[in-house]
Symmetry: C2
Subunit: 111 residues, 2 copies
DNA sequence: AAAACATTTTGATAATTACCGAAATGTCGG
DNA sequence: CCGACATTTCGGTAATTATCAAAATGTTTT
């Protein structure tokens, strides 16, 4: 997928975001990240989900290759839908609620 | 009967609609149909845009083959985004504002 | 420094989507 | 009914996306 860099401050591209949301796995990931406690086991190192969930757990839950989920999350981050935080060897991903809300508002104004 | 997780959480329609919105031409069509007077010449037979715009005009404006735009509109109709009305040999397409609004509300609740 | 582990990047191929032209269907006027 | 015209459906190829395994990169621990 061709992803153009974007931040919350740029106008969100409906086509780009829709490309991401046109895959069930990616929509599911976004949904699971809404409630990490309910959808993932606790992290062994961190005792919280403040920065989201590590790639490994998301990949296991999704049932696809680690490399694929890593790429998905990378696209989602470039599109502004999630935020990545690195703690040691783990990268945690969480929803970018502000951007998601902004996108939905953008949709309701421009679609 | 096989009960899937979909009964609890259905991402299917988000994926389906997003597939449609992941193409710039289709997003443009939806946008043009918001204001037919501003985006299309008047119809020769009908003196209004009450039922939307005929396939021919949309295809010309989009700059793609008639058959392609017809297929796009057919998908968009199946997904509920537009409404088709036949008058004689012409088919007019207009936005399904109710469905669009409903989808956006669905997104803000479930994405 | 090297082993061990999480993640990312990099090819590669299968699957899907984009889009066209041709053929088929539906509709109107003579 | 027949031609003319709008639209739809069909069959095909080019382009894009899905997804994997392997290689590369970071990071921690020994």
């Amino acid at each position: 997928m061709i992803i153009t860099e974007m931040s919350v401050y740029c106008s969100m591209d409906i086509v780009e975001i829709s490309k991401i949301l046109s895959n069930e796995l990616r929509v599911n990931i976004l949904h699971w990240l809404k409630d990490p406690e309910a959808n993932f086991p606790p992290h062994t190192d961190l005792k919280h989900f403040n920065d989201g969930v590590c790639v490994q757990y998301i990949g296991t839950k999704a049932g696809i290759a680690q490399s694929t989920v890593s790429q998905y999350l990378s696209w989602m981050q470039k599109a502004g839908l999630v935020i990545a935080t690195r703690h040691g060897k783990w990268t945690y991903y969480r929803r970018n609620e502000e951007a998601i809300a902004k996108y939905i508002k953008h949709l309701s104004n421009n679609l």
